[in-house]
Amino acid sequence: MAEVLQSISNSIDPYILQIFVNIGIAIILALGLNLITGVTGQLDLGHAAYMSVGAFTAAIITINLNLPFSINLLIAGTIAALVGLAIGFPILRLTGDYFAIATLGFAEILKVVFLNLDITNRALGLSVPPANTTIPMPFYVWMITILVIVGVTFIQNSRFGRALKAIREDEIAAETMGINSTRYKNQAFAIGCFLAGIGGGLYAHFIAYINPSDFAFMKSIDILNMVVLGGLGSIPGAIVGASVLTVAPEFLRFMSEYRMLVYGALLVFLMVFRPNGLLGGVDFRKMVLRIFFGKKEKKPNVTIKAR
């Protein structure tokens, strides 16, 4: 089985393969942030920091213990979630902009910590040996990506997911419905950080070299862009956003140094013409039904009572 997968991945153009893997990792990160920012409504400007926690944890585990990769990733995700909880617990009581600024601050602190720890090799960064698994990385990444998509869909459609949405819509009203908003916000934050940690672990082993500056503010903004572009709170949106923003710079490569200019303009245009994101406000199930089964949505019966 492993050899077959290996030969398949060898037969694909490595450049294309790399883009595909990057898309998978971006989707995992975007879905994690989507849970925090899109569904629960807490603007997190430091998501890359939790990714870095996962990346360094996974790299250090591979270097020192060489545990099986799946266990390694679980540990990396858990540590990222614990770090997230430690940060989230004091700052999740802040609202709106204040919370956003606090996440930004903590992300910078984490970056500086990693830049100064011996175990992360300071500013030189870490070379990451190959992951302890027989499955080739591209398949591994996409296996995890699919698991994450399924898991997150399940979470968002659950009772828990509905409570998170209520907190985003109106936190005080949610409290008066019997929703313990502090606890749920912390849980959502921890899950989001867990996914960031897993994404970080995959990234570290795919790129094979990590440096604290890879996870700086711009990386957090990149992930946020994917979520906003796709449509806050929408899972298909986050997937499309992550894919588009990973592929776009590659298509624009021929413009060399001007490409970020076009990329920026693209973002501005999209926000002007689709302020809710590419798939924001689109009910995916209804769309699929309409396209494949030609089912029309029933118009609600509006009766006007004569008085």
């Binding site: 409570a163 109106d170 949610a174 419905m177």
Partner: protein, 234 residues
């Protein structure tokens, strides 16, 4: 049923409530009337624990709920229809109602209550798949009331149900409040529209700058010359 004992609430240096006491008996409609900023909403928010009292005690059915967090107060059987309705705008009518029953675990009962809410507010059933933000003000008020009913409350706290509604709708809403009361739910009603509030309430308290200045039977208060002058526009 509910006893509020010597509650004081401060917002920073401002005393919003000074030593307020009131009580509500089972089956009553009690109205709190008073001018803007008198502290009516603060009383409701203190009961539901959205605001913490600096001193005093709130006892519900023999249980001290003063320090209980708001999500646990709901489980005690107190649900609030907040000022300005505060429905969840980007969720459907159904989802809003389901969230009202969030603290409950009896699925059968929740389904029954959903049916009875739809029976009471047929317009909500017609719009059950629509986003709450697409409803009109009156419909949103009905949704907020339906949502509070979904918790199967013993005591309902209603904050300014008439706010921003056309007079004909105000009348409809107040009829519904009376109906809800008749099916066994106790109601504490905060209202600027003193005339309407006194017409359906059994008893009422009059609040002025954080203090209760008058209380008594609603009919008595409606006949009181001072009340008539200050709140009924005579």
């Amino acid at each position: 049923m509910l006893k509020v004992e010597n509650i004081s609430v401060n917002y920073g240096a401002i005393n919003a409530l000074k030593d307020v006491s009131c009580h509500i008996e089972e089956g009553e409609i009690v109205a709190l009337i008073g001018a803007n900023g008198a502290g009516k909403t603060t009383i409701l928010n203190t009961i539901s624990s959205l605001v913490q009292a600096a001193s005093g005690r709130i006892v519900f059915n023999g249980c001290d709920i003063t320090k209980m967090p708001p999500h646990d107060v709901v489980k005690m059987g107190i649900s609030q229809v907040p000022e300005g309705r505060r429905v969840f705008p980007e969720m459907s009518v159904m989802e809003n109602l389901e969230l009202g029953a969030y603290a409950r675990s009896d699925r059968e009962g929740v389904r029954e209550d959903m049916t009875s809410v739809f029976k009471r507010f047929p317009r909500l059933e017609e719009r059950k798949k629509q986003y709450a933000k697409t409803l009109s003000g009156g419909e949103q008020q009905m949704l907020a009331m339906g949502r509070a009913l979904m918790a199967r409350p013993k005591l309902m706290l209603m904050d300014e149900p008439s706010m921003g509604l056309a007079p004909i709708l105000v009348e409809e809403i107040f009829n519904i409040i009376t109906e809800i009361n008749q099916t066994g739910t106790t109601i504490l009603l905060v209202e600027q529209n003193a005339h309407m509030a006194l017409s359906i309430a059994h008893r009422a308290y009059v609040l002025e700058t954080g203090e209760i200045v008058l209380h008594g039977d609603a009919d008595e208060l409606a006949a009181n010359p001072e009340v008539r002058k200050a709140y009924l526009g005579e």
